[in-house]
């Protein structure tokens, strides 16, 4: 397999996951905006690390509807949902021969549908339906990958991209939302706002999951634990880094060599696996998540170096 193939599959995984995470996050944010007061736009922009870009494109500043357009349909924003799907589709198109017909058809189908929606009048464009389509189809695409792809190197690069992106997304959502709700970093300050905290969970689709696991009222510490440390929650940071480590080990077995990327993947996985939530709050959640996110970024660079992707 070519290095350029590995690179395309890695980025296909990342872009697809990015679109999916964004769709879920926006849906949760809209629900929140309907149920409570406040302007959510700034917080959402912060999750995408795009406060400045957002302010620049939106002179009047700060309206949720315009932020949603920026994140969903703005083709000049490289991280918007339509841009991400177009990028994933372009990666897949270059690797038509390395993915199955099922994966290609479901991804190309989504791209065709988004393209046709984008051609319709912007004023009547149904954003909600568009987000719903992206969520549903992304599940189909990942499902097609699970069911049909040969478990070879190519598959592992797709997995690496998807899970690094997903782990980073969850870490970022938790980081920003926690800071908004508890600027002082103290989880026990006052009675937690039910709507606010359930919305944090909804960003990774884990409200019911929380109930199943804890069978108790929403508690900021437990929310953080679920999102970071629970290996059995498929969008938790721990779960994602576990999957990353697994794929790295499969590649190391296939290639018979190990490098800095393998070490870092193993270390990150271990850090999440053996962490305790009370210790994390002692050193500070922001500090812990910041370290994890920096290392995820470094790992992505190291993967590029080690497998000649650049």
């Amino acid at each position: 397999m070519l290095s350029s193939t590995a690179k395309n599959l890695y980025w296909m995984g990342r872009y697809l996951q990015r679109a999916k995470s964004t769709a879920r996050l926006i849906e949760a944010t809209q629900r929140m905006a309907l149920q409570s007061r406040g302007e959510e736009a700034a917080g959402v922009a912060a999750i995408f690390g795009m406060e400045d870009e957002f302010r620049q494109t939106q002179q009047q500043g700060g309206r949720l509807a315009s932020l949603i357009d920026f994140l969903v349909v703005d083709e000049s924003n490289p991280s918007s949902i339509v841009s991400s799907i177009a990028a994933a589709r372009s990666n897949a198109r270059e690797e038509r021969n390395n993915i199955t017909v099922d994966v290609w058809e479901s991804l190309n189908g989504l791209w065709l549908e988004l393209s046709s929606r984008m051609r319709s009048d912007r004023a009547t464009l149904d954003r909600g339906a568009l987000i719903e389509t992206v969520k549903k189809q992304a599940v189909m695409i990942f499902g097609a990958a699970q069911v049909t792809l040969l478990r070879d190197e190519a598959y592992n690069f797709l997995q690496l991209g998807a899970f690094l992106e997903r782990g980073d997304n969850t870490a970022r959502i938790l980081d920003v939302k926690f800071h908004l709700l508890r600027p002082d970093g103290n989880p026990h300050a006052d009675k937690p706002d039910y709507f606010a905290w359930s919305e944090v969970l909804a960003c990774i689709g884990a409200v019911r999951t929380y109930r199943r696991i804890y069978r108790s009222a929403l508690d900021p510490v437990k929310v953080a634990e679920l999102m970071m440390l629970r290996r059995d929650v498929p969008r938790s940071v721990h779960h994602c880094l576990w999957m990353v480590d697994l794929s790295m080990r499969e590649l190391a077995d296939a290639y018979g060599t190990r490098g800095e990327a393998d070490r870092l993947a193993g270390e990150l996985h271990a850090r999440l696996r053996y962490a305790r939530v009370d210790r994390i709050f002692e050193i500070g959640l922001a500090k812990f998540l910041g370290g994890v996110r920096d290392d995820i970024a470094t790992l992505s660079d190291e993967i590029g170096r080690q497998f000649l992707l650049d």
Partner: protein, 476 residues
């Protein structure tokens, strides 16, 4: 002109034998069913991303080539005749290419002037004196055939550079099996799905190395190329890597591809990149599509490039006129498939005749392709003919002319129902250690009424081509 054309299905009351089942099927199938089926076809092609022509499309995206669901049928004995003629022709073309880049015996014998080879813009001096495995230069040849009568087939054009279109042959068949199983089961159609396997075997058989499983890659200009779908499709079917120039590099005279494991040796490159862009060190220095040092590796016998470099000297429209002579010279045989009579404007007598008969003739540029740069006399206006006459007078050596052939027609779905439309046929001839041709080939159809131009860039479509198995007891 269209009225006189030979119709391959025949007329009511005298349907030709190979088309009987198709005629019955057409009579039985309701227009609603047909419309629904055509819609399904379009959806199928779009979802599969079987597209063409990223260049020039308004939004920079892909379009699909129209597919007509009425198959084009060829009887077994007709195919036997074509098969023999194709093998003969491609063998002669390969012998000519070996000779053209070697001793040029054919020039010394006075059959073809040496200037025809050496002054040809497609001649690649660096390809001289190479002993290619199996003596093969044209590994994949697309020979364009037209039919004008029950027994009259002509070769319109040879394509031995990087002929495309075979992916449509394979995909069209998949579509037909899905959409018209009842018609399929009523006839015995020879399969085409083994093309990719034969292609891979052909590519492997021409490796310089004796490795039992030489590494073959497909080199594409990239996903902006109009035939990119086909490149990806063929690589997928063969299970080989689809490379762009940046995926390959040359080190110490050997070619490698970059992989996460490190460099991997490459033995054979099936390239879909034109000669001029293959190696920026040897050819165009501004090419980003090629691999620096590739020609050095070829000359050192470390990698084979398929099709060979410089094949353009064998398939331009002026060399075409010599092919029957090549067959006699190299094979000592009479040509089975005939050339269309051709006037070469660089010959004084021909030049005079052509200018006097422009209203009847088809005039083409020697190096033109894709149905561009040509004049179809009978359907052109006075002004168009006058303009073209200027071009011919300015550079007679750049033009050839042929009589306007009444290409055969096949029933085709058009806006209002079924009507005859003109077709041609491009079979694909594979030459390695042996010659293989999958039955049939690509049938292109001119969808505009009366049009003789079948090129997809000029509004042509495609049909599935069915070669029928021999009847039981026919002795074949």
């Amino acid at each position: 002109m269209a009225a006189k054309a030979f119709d391959e299905m025949g007329t009511t009351g005298s349907i030709r034998a190979p088309y009987r089942s198709v005629a019955n099927w057409l009579a039985r199938t309701s227009p609603e069913r047909v419309a629904a089926t055509r819609h399904e076809v379009d959806l199928f092609y779009r979802r599969h991303g079987i597209t063409f022509g990223a260049y020039g499309a308004v939004d920079g995206h892909e379009t699909t080539i129209p597919f007509d669901i009425i198959p084009r049928v060829i009887a077994w004995d007709e195919w036997q005749y074509l098969h023999k003629g194709l093998v003969q022709r491609v063998q002669a073309l390969n012998a000519f290419l070996v000779d053209a880049y070697g001793a040029r015996e054919i020039c010394r014998a006075g059959v073809i002037p040496e200037t025809q080879i050496l002054m040809n813009g497609e001649f690649v001096a660096m390809a001289q004196g190479l002993a290619l495995p199996g003596g093969v230069h044209a590994h994949i040849a697309g020979i364009d055939l037209v039919r004008v009568g029950e027994k009259d087939f002509y070769v319109l054009e040879d394509n031995v550079r990087t002929p495309s279109g075979v992916s449509y042959v394979l995909e069209n068949r998949e579509v037909m099996m899905r959409l018209a199983p009842e018609l399929f089961s009523a006839m015995r159609v020879l399969p085409v799905a083994d093309y990719s396997e034969e292609l891979l075997a052909t590519l492997r058989s021409v490796s310089f190395s004796d490795d039992a499983e030489p590494t073959v890659v497909l080199l594409t200009p990239g996903h902006f190329n109009s035939a990119y779908f086909e490149h990806a499709f063929l690589a997928d079917e063969m299970g080989i890597d689809l490379c762009e120039g940046s995926d390959l590099f040359v080190d110490e005279g050997r070619v490698y591809m970059r992989t996460p494991r490190g460099p991997q040796r490459v033995d054979v490159i099936y390239r879909r990149v034109d000669d001029a862009f293959l190696d920026p060190l040897a050819m165009r220095p501004d090419s980003f599509l090629g691999v620096a040092g590739l020609l050095g590796a070829l000359r050192a016998g470390r990698v084979n490039i398929v099709n060979a470099l410089g094949n353009g000297v064998a398939d331009d429209k002026s060399t075409y006129t010599y092919v029957p002579e090549m067959i006699r010279f190299y094979l000592g045989e009479e040509p089975i498939l005939q050339n269309v009579p051709t006037w070469r404007c660089d010959r004084p007598d021909d030049y005079k005749y052509v200018l006097e008969h422009l209203t009847e003739l088809v005039v083409k540029e020697v190096h033109g392709s894709g149905g561009k740069g040509m004049l179809v006399g009978p359907t052109s206006s006075k002004a168009e003919i006058e303009d073209f006459a200027h071009l011919v007078r300015a550079r007679p050596d750049n033009y050839i002319a042929q009589p306007t052939l009444a290409l055969s027609t096949c029933p085709t779905f058009v806006g209002q129902g079924v009507a005859p439309r003109h077709v041609d046929l491009r079979p694909y001839v594979l030459s390695g250690r042996k010659v293989t041709i999958i039955p049939g080939g690509l049938t292109r159809v001119a969808l505009k009424e009366g049009s003789l131009v079948v090129n997809s860039s000029q509004g042509g479509g495609t049909k599935d081509t069915w070669v029928l198995a021999p009847e039981a007891g026919s002795g074949e």
